[in-house]
């Protein structure tokens, strides 16, 4: 759609105004995170003043261990759920067998349930397995609830791989698993990036599971640590904002580098979250 010049100027003015509105919370967060407590009270929030790294250091003292915890369970659960989703997606799209549609529906519904409905059984299960307040418990939980969406993402991708490729390999005598390893896996870098980025950000951003499955520092996720920071009176705004930025940093980096893939994950992963 092309507009005459004066209208195009108006268009860009609007787009830029919106961009300012969307960025304002981030901008004040960044300026505040570099201020001393005194400067936070005395200066205008949007204006940078007397820069100091003190709040970042203070926030890292509190958030350091939780950030490592989050990184550990997020990476493991992302890898596990992606590999399981990949092989499931292959089986559900390329092998014809009775019940395959029903199993797919069985997984799909798992994407949409509100997690409140499974919260009590989940806490009981994880406790009974002796995994309460452990990284392993969080890996198991995030992997289990990640399987449905990963299966869906990979199935939708493998559906478009031509059947003739599979047939050709079959006539050469390749078995089911060999076909997956030799033919589909080498074609799968795109869906692995999409599912991987999607899983990484959703698990990293999770709050609810961390809140009910972890207490002490051994497994506390960064999301819960940041929320706790808000609850205290000792951490002033500059420390809270620095903490928020520490926790946001990995996702912002992933978003800026691999945003395109994250967007296709969002389009496919619709109602999850």
């Amino acid at each position: 759609m092309k507009f005459p010049r004066p209208r195009r100027i108006l268009l860009y003015v609007l787009l830029i105004l919106f961009a300012f509105a969307y960025l304002l919370p981030f901008w004040t967060c960044i300026t505040t995170s570099f201020k001393t407590e005194k400067a936070v009270i005395e200066t205008v929030p949007v204006q940078p003043a007397s820069p100091t790294l003190e709040p970042w250091m203070e926030a890292l003292d509190i958030m350091g261990r939780p950030l490592l915890n989050s990184l550990t369970f997020t990476l493991f659960a992302t890898i596990f759920s992606c590999f399981i989703g990949s092989i499931n997606g292959y089986v559900l799209s390329k092998i014809r067998f009775k019940g395959s549609d029903i199993i797919f529906l069985f997984f799909s519904i798992g994407i949409f349930i509100p997690y409140q409905t499974v919260l009590i059984p989940l806490v009981l299960t994880i406790s009974r397995l002796g995994l309460y307040n452990s990284i392993e418990g969080l890996i198991l939980t995030h992997t289990a609830y990640g399987i449905p969406i990963c299966t869906l993402l990979f199935r939708n991708f493998y559906k478009d791989v031509p059947d003739s490729l599979i047939m050709a390999a079959k006539t050469d005598g390749a078995g089911t698993l060999t076909i997956y390893r030799r033919i589909l896996l080498p074609l799968s870098s795109a869906p692995f990036v999409v599912a991987g980025v999607f899983q990484f950000t959703s698990i990293w951003n999770d709050f609810l599971f961390g809140l009910v499955l972890a207490r002490g520092s051994e497994a506390l996720p960064a999301s819960v640590a940041l929320a706790n920071l808000r609850g205290t009176t000792t951490a002033f705004w500059n420390v809270q904002m620095a903490g928020a930025l520490w926790y946001a940093l990995p996702v912002i980096i992933v978003y800026l580098i691999l945003g395109k893939y994250l967007m296709s994950g969002y389009m496919a992963g619709a109602v999850k979250g």
């Binding site: 759609m1 092309k2 507009f3 195009r8 860009y12 609007l14 787009l15 961009a19 969307y22 919370p25 981030f26 967060c29 205008v44 929030p45 949007v46 399981i84 499931n88 089986v91 092998i95 014809r96 067998f97 009775k98 395959s100 199993i103 069985f106 519904i109 798992g110 949409f112 349930i113 509100p114 997690y115 409140q116 409905t117 499974v118 919260l119 009590i120 059984p121 989940l122 299960t125 939980t141 289990a144 609830y145 399987i147 449905p148 078995g175 089911t176 990293w204 709050f207 940041l226 808000r230 705004w237 809270q240 903490g243 926790y247 946001a248 996702v251 912002i252 389009m267 619709a270 979250g273």
Partner: protein
């Protein structure tokens, strides 16, 4: 071995995991909701639908339900309209479209704990940006307690959530607009459809499925969203002014240890969400087959 046997063997671990953590857990939750379990010691003596009846007499349940409805009535349409507007702006052959898109979608990529922290700071009555900027530009009379004022706290939540989700609805609509065949748009232009009338007459009517997807996604979020409100207001101020069903479920279960009652709230939430999601899943699978 036959292919179908291998297929089932491969799927078996996942089916067991999802079967346990999703389906068996939903059933387990229903059983808890029918029991008399209160306190930390589990109890599975079935007492029937007593907890569900109690819901009717619980004022906090009704306040929470009312706030969930408020989210559906205000947050959902505002995010959809703003997202649609941004998508139309970005569709006008904008230079640096990718930069704008990245900026508008950034809030949605981040954890609710982060966005809630940012908005808590924005809304701070004493030193927060909003009140200070209002004063600087001579609009000091508009200053307010924002999330600390129970009469407007829920609207502050809705504004912040619209900021976070409108980039996502923009993405859905932009994909919808881009999937309309170029030839149709050109034909309409030849017929003299121009500018916003082109969108009103040709493009927006074809965004039915995008709109449906956006509606369902946002409505489900409006019902089950927990993190953002929990971190921003904790359900307050003034006790329950921003309480929603997921918060009420969490408080009853994990703070008050009324496990049966919390499970009943979760079951109600599950039923409402499924009433929205199942027809949508059915329609989108039909659409895919066409």
């Amino acid at each position: 071995m036959k292919d179908s046997v291998i297929a089932l063997l491969i799927l078996l671990p996942s089916v067991l995991l999802v079967g346990y953590f999703v389906y068996a857990s939903i059933g387990w939750n229903v059983i808890v909701s029918l029991s008399n379990w209160e306190g930390l010691e589990p109890s599975y003596t079935i007492v029937g639908f007593r907890r569900y009846v109690e819901l009717f007499y619980d004022p906090v349940f009704w306040i929470s339900l009312k706030n969930n409805l408020l989210l559906i009535l205000l947050f959902v349409p505002s995010s959809i309209l703003l997202g649609l507007f941004l998508a139309i702006l970005l569709d006008m052959k904008v230079r640096a479209e990718g930069v704008f898109r990245t900026i508008y979608l950034l809030p949605f990529a981040l954890s609710f704990v982060i966005t809630a922290s940012l908005w808590a700071w924005m809304y701070d009555p004493k030193v927060g940006v909003i009140n200070i900027l209002l004063e600087k530009v001579g609009l000091g009379f508009l200053q307010s307690g924002w999330v600390t004022d129970s009469s407007i706290a829920m609207y502050c939540v809705i504004l912040a959530l619209t900021w976070q989700f409108s980039g996502y609805t923009m993405l859905i609509f932009l994909a919808g607009i881009r999937s309309i065949p170029e030839s149709q748009v050109m034909a309409a232009e030849v017929d003299g459809a121009y500018g916003f009338s082109l969108y009103r007459r040709i493009i927006i009517p074809q965004l039915k499925f995008s709109s449906l997807a956006a509606f369902v996604i946002l409505m489900v979020f409006a019902l089950k969203g927990f993190d953002f409100i929990y971190v921003l207001t904790g359900g307050g101020p003034g006790g329950w002014s921003t309480f929603v069903l997921p918060l009420e479920m969490f408080r009853e279960t994990f703070t008050m240890t009324h496990f049966a009652y919390g499970a009943a709230i979760a079951t109600v939430l599950f039923v409402i969400v499924m009433v929205i999601v199942v027809p949508y899943l059915y329609m989108s699978s039909r659409r895919r087959e066409e």
